[in-house]
């Protein structure tokens, strides 16, 4: 391999980017049989897969994790076959949505061969993920591969070893087949960088795939991966999952291993980021989390809280109580989101098996002020310096978030004060939640309280490029460190969503968001997946998943 072109070696940022793209393209070119260029693809790219891939490849890549696992474990499907199919579909996803930083054909096929041989020899799989191809957001580093977190200035840095989480997935039998794009700074709800340009939405390429795990969103949305690894500090797993119509979970932070990942603001503890899954199925997300927790990652990474995967049935002899948050009272969601929420609520109410109540938001505007301030306690200096080090231009959404009006350059005392403000908000929100209880048990436990909050995953469906600005529906739960599960419900329909609705804007963010809908309408967001979010209290990840399983059974969601 030729020496890497880097800023340190004297190259311009453009040369560094060109070299990275050339390198990526070479990894695509190694895919066999090769994937052709697609000259004038339709805006909705999903059906193109059927024109390019074999029937077997379509079948494999459209299988969910829970279908592939037993087939691979029994040897009904070889890992090599599965990995080849996903490699080809991932290469096609790259050509259509620009979601890949590199494919890993030689590593992946060598690993797949090893797994097939292991199964042959031992008659049993390596672990619960035997043969499952997994895609990984780039800043979760892999041994000896470039690790730049979206900054031109960091190109040339390589990970000394696979990140802790990848070691565990590897030991469980996973195959890493693709690395995916992320935005400059990792702090957009879109995926746009000077290294690779813009990642688009496979359902409508005029829209963003979301971000910052937007490479994962587009790739899993296109089914070039059935399980991907993303990261989330303000919506970065849930935005791409929601935008691309897949399942995505931001677990409570401090549960899943993050040791070894690369990003700015290391040592920052005010808002703790987390890793989590994106998958074509809920079972994929569940298996991912359970596999990681079963390995007791806290023994190697003592920052993690030693909560094992909770097996208990949270709703045994108890009716699920769902609080519905229609609108955070800061930015009103676009009509398709409200329609999807209404569909869910109507179905839940019709069976009577689930109790549905209204969830009143508690100062979500204040929550945004607090978190937008705490993201960059150094005033954003580290990120700014990293951008400026290479002379690369600022992407519009880097400008938007790093220079948001709530950012300040903290001293230690002012940061302590801001942290206390966060804690006071968390206490107030806990009280708000506790106030939904209908009685108090013998040990002071709250009975009859809301179990989970059903809410939007954003103020609209996948936004037009560079318009994803209101983080509140996602970052709200990062500030509180509540787990959030995103799931597909429906898609934008020109007829159903074509009506006119008027709304008097409450503030600048609300105005800007509503004007987008007025400008583009249902036609502009055609075919975009509509997703919603289910949120639980801190460390109640398993309860959120169980609640969703009940909701899925009751409603039959998704409706497409």
């Amino acid at each position: 391999m030729a020496a890497r072109v880097t800023i340190a070696s004297g190259a311009t940022w453009q040369e560094v980017a060109a070299d990275r793209q050339k390198y990526r393209d070479a990894t695509l070119a190694a895919i066999e049989p090769s994937i052709p260029d697609i000259p004038s693809p339709s805006l909705n790219t999903i059906s193109i897969a059927k024109d390019i891939l074999t029937t077997e490849e379509i079948k494999i890549t459209e299988s969910k994790v829970e279908v592939l696992v037993p087939q691979l474990a029994k040897g009904d499907l070889s890992s090599v076959t599965v990995v080849k199919a996903f490699l080809r579909r991932a290469a096609l996803a790259q050509k259509l949505t620009n979601c890949i930083t590199e494919l890993l054909p030689s590593r992946a096929l060598e690993r797949a061969k090893y797994l097939d041989d292991y199964l042959d020899t031992n008659g049993k799989p390596v672990g619960p993920l035997h043969g499952i191809p997994i895609s990984v957001k780039e800043h979760i580093g892999m041994k000896d591969l470039d690790n730049n977190a979206g900054f031109i200035g960091w190109v040339g840095n390589t990970a000394p070893q696979d990140c802790h989480i990848l070691q565990i997935l590897w030991n469980a039998g996973a195959v890493f087949h693709a690395r995916t794009t992320q935005p400059q700074t990792l702090m957009h709800l879109e995926t746009s960088s000077n290294l690779y340009g813009v990642t688009t939405n496979p359902y409508n390429t005029t829209l963003t795939s979301g971000g910052s795990s937007g490479g994962e969103g587009a790739l899993v949305g296109f089914k070039g991966s059935c399980l991907g690894v993303g990261t989330d500090i303000g919506g970065s797993i849930r935005s791409p999952a929601a935008n691309c119509g897949v399942y995505g979970m931001k677990p409570t932070a401090l549960r899943l291993p993050v040791l070894g990942w690369l990003g700015p603001a290391g040592g920052q503890e005010q808002v703790v980021p987390t890793i989590g899954p994106l998958s074509t199925s809920l079972e994929g997300c569940k298996l991912f989390i359970k596999t990681l927790l079963d390995s007791k990652p806290w023994l190697k990474e003592p920052t993690l809280m030693p909560f094992p995967w909770k097996q208990e049935d949270f709703f045994k002899g108890k009716k699920l109580k769902v609080g519905v948050l229609w609108d955070d009272e800061v930015v009103k969601p676009h009509p398709p989101v409200t329609r999807a929420l209404k569909q869910m609520v109507d179905k839940l109410k019709s069976t009577g098996n689930v109790e549905v109540v209204e969830w009143k938001p508690y100062k979500h505007d204040l929550a945004w002020e607090i978190i937008a301030n705490l993201y960059f306690c150094d005033g954003g200096k580290e990120e700014s310096d990293l951008i400026d080090a290479s002379g690369e231009p600022w992407r519009p959404l880097s400008e938007y978030i790093l220079k948001n009006p709530h950012v300040e350059t903290h001293t230690i005392p002012s940061m302590y004060k801001a942290t206390m403000k966060r804690d006071a908000y968390r206490v107030a929100y806990a009280e708000h939640w506790n106030s939904t209880a209908t009685s108090t048990g013998p040990n002071g436990e709250l009975e009859g309280a809301v179990d989970v909050i059903l809410c939007p995953a954003g103020p609209g469906v996948a936004p037009k490029i560079d318009t994803a600005k209101w983080w509140g529906y996602l970052s709200q739960w990062n500030l509180l460190n509540y787990p959030g599960l995103v799931f597909p419900v429906d898609k934008v329909d020109v007829v159903k969503d074509g009506g006119k609705e008027s709304h008097s804007p409450r503030n600048e963010n609300d105005k800007e968001n509503w004007e987008l809908w007025q400008k583009y309408g249902a036609e502009g967001y055609k075919d975009a997946p509509i997703s919603l979010q289910l949120v639980g209290r801190g460390f109640e990840d398993e309860k959120v998943i169980q609640a969703f399983e009940i909701i899925q059974k009751e409603t039959g969601v998704p409706f497409i």
Copy 2:
């Protein structure tokens, strides 16, 4: 009550202190029958109780929590009788060791009466702590009472309500009978302030009771309380417990409620402090922790990790494996500590029921550098300003810790770096612990690893006043956020500990510590309790307690 004398009202610091002492003395004077002054007490004050209190009062106050609880619950003892006895013994403790900021006779007796009436009327106790008197370190505020955390400048501040933890204990049936002293800044391993002067050790009043929960240490050591509430960020529960020969536990931080306490550096997250119990029995500590966790405090205080009290038997079908840390290789412990440790190890080895191995310290000097730096990220400005605001003099140990050579005035980026250094150390220590495993289980779990570390609780027994300088044996486990349980083993004996031992000092701290032993010898520390510490991995509090129960059964500790 007269208006409080405060700095804000124009008083000098001396006038403020004099007023607080006058107020305290008035609360003592309200105790009936009154406690006389003791003109020339012996250095070891313990036996004086028998001269002053009635036989019944001696019997009650020398009963452990687990003995009192069922008697109170059944009505065999009235709460009023119990509270009166402890109030009188606490008043005597004040006269002998200067450990009280105020007694609470009217509140406590009113509460006791309520509890007795409740039991009469309902035929059942209010909760698991029905009628148990509990003493509380002053900075854990009580409604409408002064709340100053040891700073003259904060006198006049009152708590708007009882702290969260006190609310829970109250609901469980507790009676608060005494508030106890703490040092200026809360950051000494002794208890010396300009408000109340020096708190001394009931076993030898030339020695410190330890700190910063030194009022609790002296009071519980003198049996003026069977259960007290302390706080610990570097040894502040364990130092006084160890010095005064009682049980004390620093639970893993983020388990027990702290909401509402007062102290400097609020919002600091680099080294998380915790609340915990001091008690005349292990059962007292256990009941305290279990009662708090059973109330699910995380629902009101979302910073806490929702770990319920773990009921599982950690050593079912498994031999306890103890790692013995003789010496942290920074400051060598005085001979009595090593003798006590040797007694324990000999007994453990003799039965063969417990596996005993050596625990090699991993860079405990580095651990001290990291934590001593992280305590005061603002360079100690907040504490310094608080002292200087009233013109009160700096106590020697405030000077020692706030101006220690590792303190720096951090910027946000330098604090992030220091935090990452902490995390790297934690990972390295976890690896060090993992390396004691003898095999790896099917899910990667470590088998045969050390379960708990048995180690000193300090570099000697209770130090002479103003000489408690080496925090390493305690702060080590705060940096790692490991739980630590301190328990009494023996006492300094002029004959057994009278031998001469030479030691070549490794560094200044070691030199200073060893010279103290050379200067004072066993005679100087006569009758001082010798205590040891049992430490577990993060959040393994219940495992540490179970391990201690096994060790206690095997060795019969304490040996006095």
